[in-house]
Symmetry: C2
Subunit: 466 residues, 2 copies
């Protein structure tokens, strides 16, 4: 069964590390983490996974089993001896977890010797790509759900143990809770759950099933009403049990619809509950929900109070992955570049800083400027690809976004709870104008490079072309 260890990586990291160990120990390098394309054809993404990544990196070790296995793969004994005591001892600067991000600009930078920087690459990408994807999906769903309760129900369709981090990222993106019990234990996530159809089926009749459940789980009691017939059997039986609960001084929290036309059934059920003076009983709905289905239900004024979202959330449908990459930008005292036939895939050299541009009132103007780290202020930002597009930002407020989060392999700040991260993210998102949040052709947030970075990049391209 899976447990984190330093061999949860691609072999090439260790192959390269072996060569670095023999030939260029202690050469310092800088790597950028960024993605090229915003997920879901959206206008923004929510950066997630950082705090867990720092924990994973702090504790990353090669176990005895790892080393015994690596010995079978032609690694040299001296190198294996080095791995025995491996600790990541580098520096990481990063945007905060929960930050709203836009692609192209580095979200995180690693400064470490080449060996250590390569050994953490895979686990870094594996952690940040997935959680950023899911937090972004969750945020989109939150955009349309208003103040309705959003619950993650996706564990059964997640990638095995990947569901642990799906639930975490969902909260960062704006979900209220999860069905995934362990994440309540580990992240203090509010855990919710109702009953399966099997519970009702295991009884000879639905009413007895509801009664037993209400008697034994009176707090947070939610009854699933669609096992046999929602309106003819499920809702009437739930109403009976709600009345019995009232006579015991208890309250039925909600009924849950899990199939059929959710708009129609929620309206009919609401009317039946209200007619029985059960206006306080909420309606929960689930079944293949995503941001578009919820938007449609909201537009139809379906009286649904709680949405349970499963598969489409935890697999980040339809994208399924974020294309985040980890690229070398500086090594052994020199800027480094990767050339590509497509200019948009050429990497940006040098250790860098990213500035979020705001007006004098601190309002976002919709632009991030990438500069070489020692520039401190950017006069003009240029489109990274198109030659004649630029924007003068000299007189504008420029907030540096990359801040140290790890030094000498140790986390600098206290671990932020996911509740802190989620409210940070919510606040940042509230500052982003609506046109960046819409689903269809969202406004494009500008990400550009400083004059100096552009010159240096183009100089390096020219050198390599010779």
């Amino acid at each position: 069964m899976f447990q984190y260890t330093a061999t949860y990586t691609d072999l090439y990291q260790l192959s390269m590390a072996q060569v670095y160990f023999n030939k260029k120990q202690n050469q310092e390098a800088t790597f950028d983490y960024y993605f090229r394309t915003l997920p879901f054809k959206g206008g923004y993404a929510v950066f997630a996974g950082l705090e867990e990544l720092l924990t994973i990196i702090e504790e990353l070790r090669f176990s005895k089993e790892d080393l015994a296995y690596l010995k079978t793969l032609d690694f040299e004994d001296e190198f294996l001896n080095y791995l025995k005591d491996f600790r990541f001892g580098g520096k990481i600067t990063s945007m905060s977890e929960g930050e709203i991000v836009f692609g192209t600009a580095p979200i995180l930078q690693v400064e470490a010797n080449l060996i250590e920087a390569q050994i953490i690459e895979t686990i870094l990408l594996n952690t940040l790509n997935f959680q950023t994807l899911i937090a972004t999906k969750a945020s989109r769903i939150r955009q349309v759900a208003g103040d309705k309760t959003l619950l993650d129900f996706g564990l059964r369709r997640a990638q095995g143990p990947g569901g642990y981090y799906a639930s975490r990222a969902a909260i960062i993106g704006g979900f209220d809770g999860s069905s995934n019990v362990i994440t309540g234990r580990d992240f203090d996530i509010k855990i919710s759950g109702t009953m399966a159809h099997a519970f009702v089926q295991s009884y000879d009749d639905e009413l007895t099933a509801f009664r037993d459940f209400a008697e034994n789980r009176p707090s947070n009691c939610v009854l699933l009403v669609d096992t046999y017939d929602t309106l003819k059997s499920g809702v009437p039986n739930a109403i009976k049990v709600a009345k019995e609960m009232e006579s015991r001084g208890q309250k039925l929290l909600a009924i849950r619809l899990d199939s059929g036309d959710l708009a129609y059934l929620s309206k009919k059920s609401r009317a039946m509950l209200d007619d029985a003076n059960l206006t306080y009983v909420q309606i929960a709905a689930s079944n293949q929900l995503d941001e578009y289905v919820i938007q449609s239900l909201q537009n139809q004024k379906a009286p649904i109070d709680i949405y349970g979202v499963g598969t489409n959330l935890v697999i980040g449908k339809p994208d399924g992955a974020l294309d985040g990459v980890y690229k070398l930008s500086y090594a052994n005292g020199k800027p480094r570049i990767k050339i590509s036939e497509s200019i948009s895939k050429v990497t940006l050299p040098y250790k860098k800083q990213v500035y979020r541009i705001k007006n004098s009132e601190g309002v976002l103007i919709g632009a991030d400027a990438i500069a070489i780290a020692d520039e401190y202020h950017v006069e003009r930002m240029n489109h990274p690809v198109e030659p004649f597009k630029n924007l003068t930002i000299k007189s504008l407020n420029q907030e540096p976004m990359l801040k140290p989060v790890m030094e000498n392999g140790k986390r600098i700040n206290k671990i932020r709870t996911i509740q802190e991260i989620a409210s940070y993210s919510k606040e940042k998102l509230s500052g982003l104008p609506e046109e960046y949040k819409r689903f269809d052709n969202p406004h494009i947030y500008k990400v550009g490079i400083s004059d100096r970075l552009k010159q240096e990049r183009d100089k390096l391209i020219a050198e390599h072309k010779r």
Copy 2:
């Protein structure tokens, strides 16, 4: 950081279990695992995850931290005390891991008391759904790749720790190896890897980078040739280094292309290598590959020997999830059913057996029959939904597919290695006619129900409609 424990489940399992504990302890139940729709619009799926699931179930416990946390969620002390000593003690019958499966028919059945059967539900779905999806995707890629080498490179785009099982499932579906080191350690998977662009970039020139790599990693040496310019720089430098290796009695294994037009570049590179008498140097290719891109490369006769497949494999693109479900079919001595407005979503009652129908020579005729467990032989199978479609199979060979794999919570057989599972799957797939394997409108494999099962189902539906 994630570690398996029994709270890696949906809360409702524990809520239901609390009620069962109070009201109906020791009631025996049967649950079916099956999926409704074949993934990828394909004609078959490859069942995967079973052996890992059995290990997970055997070791499933509530830890001290789990119990302390559950105490905060309104569970009763007596029930928590029961969970402290929880062990799954039930029986599991299943198709073999690696089996070719077709939906609707149970792939696996759990017989246990209601509490235990519910407590394993989520982890069962979480394990089998994902691995079956990925094994099926891998199998589709193998269909088009012929005898080319297929490597899984997807770890960086997987769902955090989910990548561990993606690599495992890829081998079951027909891949030759993975970059994911830990899976070599744990599953004896052949591990492969080359170098990243960063390796080449970290040097002032590509040739020195290649030389250092070849000197220090001469066995399985693969050089990545597209960091600056594939045909002008990468391949010529690789040829120089290959010749230097020859002079040391070593052989360059391959070059790797990771961008650009792979058909064009592989043909040009092949010609350059051949002109240099390096006909033994293979060509590896990667970059957003899937079964369709590989099929196109194969059709163009691209001289690629090794395909590295990443994102599209490990996320099971475009589906991202398999819709496998776990449905109650028998409890407390009675058959159980879930009604739905759509007849295709009505569940099948009773403990069952699935028969794979073959002709007298043992050749598949393209039909599975689902029967009540004590039927032993099926005279006629009926379409599960359409009333007038049936098939007489009385005189045909009927192979029972569900076999005991766990009794009293203990695995019955030795754990099969994934190499054993992969060759079992390959053999079974070779018996499936080609028309079920094609991508476009594959032939539909028939799955039907026996006369008796149909009668019993319809009787239960009628009873519930009253």
